[in-house]
Subunit: 253 residues, 2 copies
């Protein structure tokens, strides 16, 4: 009886505590996505109805950005912008503790090869891609994660990294325009095509050089979340030059 | 006589030493620009005839990228890619010793407000722009550098930073599409225009949101180095959607 009374007395506190731990965020739409609220309502920035943070977190796709020292800045920044607006959870990984992009930008990656968590999508990029593509440790790391990786995304000469991990065998792929012949020589079992913004093989998307990563990323978002979402993001980014499906979608899925 | 003999004996060494100190680089064209060679010839990567490094260094335009914590990744990465291909010397500055872009990318800036060297161009960007625009210390820093700054470049809500520094008074400007009205309210002495990729006032270029920074940067390169150079860079970046002069160029120079 005493226990019941205690429970009745504590009930409001327990309820309050439970309500106090609930966190709300706005559905993925832009920079306000990361603001955490402690009660229900509408996001004061975008006006959208807030959702429970847990629900959003569980649904968020995880994208691992592998960045090698010397990585081309727009190669990864375009997709990072697109995936961020799509509400994907992004983290960066590198073999190096510090790296420099484009000879300028000093970046500290979130994780090393040893402690990087799994991700739904592994994304790799060009700019000094050889240091990753020709590094047995990086290639072994990609292969070891393959079972837990749902899909792959490469920009520019990032295709060499996927290729050296054996992921492009019997696939169609593209790369930076100046590296088309080199990729053909390197990957005799891959059909390397030119003059396309991206090639979508189903599990693997490879894009052409540098800025083409934006189009490939929007295509991937369109596939995963619907073309309307890709177009919303393109509008937000003021990328009015976005043309849906402006790439090669192969039957090899 | 002894001195003359010594000089004759040493002459080959002196000549060799002089030749040994000369450094050669390839003319600005892409990632191979940063490779230093110690003899004349052609760049093995792009095939262009190498030039003396000193000559290139003296001619290189310096661009200061001011990056606030929370800066939008594509806002600065697009122009960084373009200016890098144009051979400009870029450095990053922030009030913070470490900053995070897009909630993800951990960046260490090259300089603080206290030790940043002068630059020909000051570039500012959106994404949490308020922390720079509303910071009296950052605004005072911009004003103090004004005499040594030849021109300004803003992307997205970076226009608020230039505006608060008084640089947009009696000028035409643009910004992120969702911030047009806000900029109009904030800067009553500025003609704020929408639906343009960029506005070029001569000394100041402001661009629309996020991806529009790429177009504004290509326009600036076209102005400074010729349209042919801008088109070469657009081709390198596989930005085949580049349309020259797709912005507003005012008479207010």
């Amino acid at each position: 009886m005493k226990q019941l009374l205690l429970l009745l007395l504590l009930a409001p506190c327990l309820l309050f505590a439970q309500s106090g731990t609930l966190k709300y965020v706005c559905p993925p739409c832009g920079p306000c996505d990361t603001i955490v609220y402690h009660k229900q309502g509408k996001c004061p920035h975008c006006g959208m109805v807030l959702m429970k943070k847990d629900t959003i977190d569980q649904k968020r796709l995880k994208v691992c950005f592998y960045l090698q020292d010397g990585v081309e800045v727009l190669d990864f920044a375009g997709p990072m912008e697109v995936f961020s607006y799509a509400g994907f959870e992004i983290f960066t990984v590198s073999k190096k503790k510090k790296l420099i992009s484009q000879g300028v930008l000093k970046i500290t990656p979130d994780y090393s090869l040893a402690d990087a968590p799994p991700a739904d999508i592994l994304a790799v990029f060009g700019g000094n891609a050889g240091v990753a593509a020709d590094d047995p440790e990086v290639i072994a790391w990609i292969k070891a994660r393959d079972k837990a990786t749902a899909s792959y995304f490469s920009v520019c000469t990032g295709a060499f990294i996927l290729g050296n991990a054996g992921l492009l065998n019997h696939q169609t792929a593209t790369t930076f325009h100046q590296s088309i012949n080199h990729l053909r020589e390197r990957l005799p079992q891959t059909k390397v095509v030119e003059n396309v913004r991206f090639v979508d093989n189903g599990r693997i998307i490879t894009t052409a050089g540098i800025s083409a990563g934006i189009d490939g990323a929007l295509h991937l978002v369109g596939k995963l979340k619907g073309e309307e979402e890709a177009q919303r993001i393109a509008r937000e980014m003021e990328y009015d030059k976005y043309v849906p499906n402006q790439g090669m979608i192969t039957a090899n899925k």
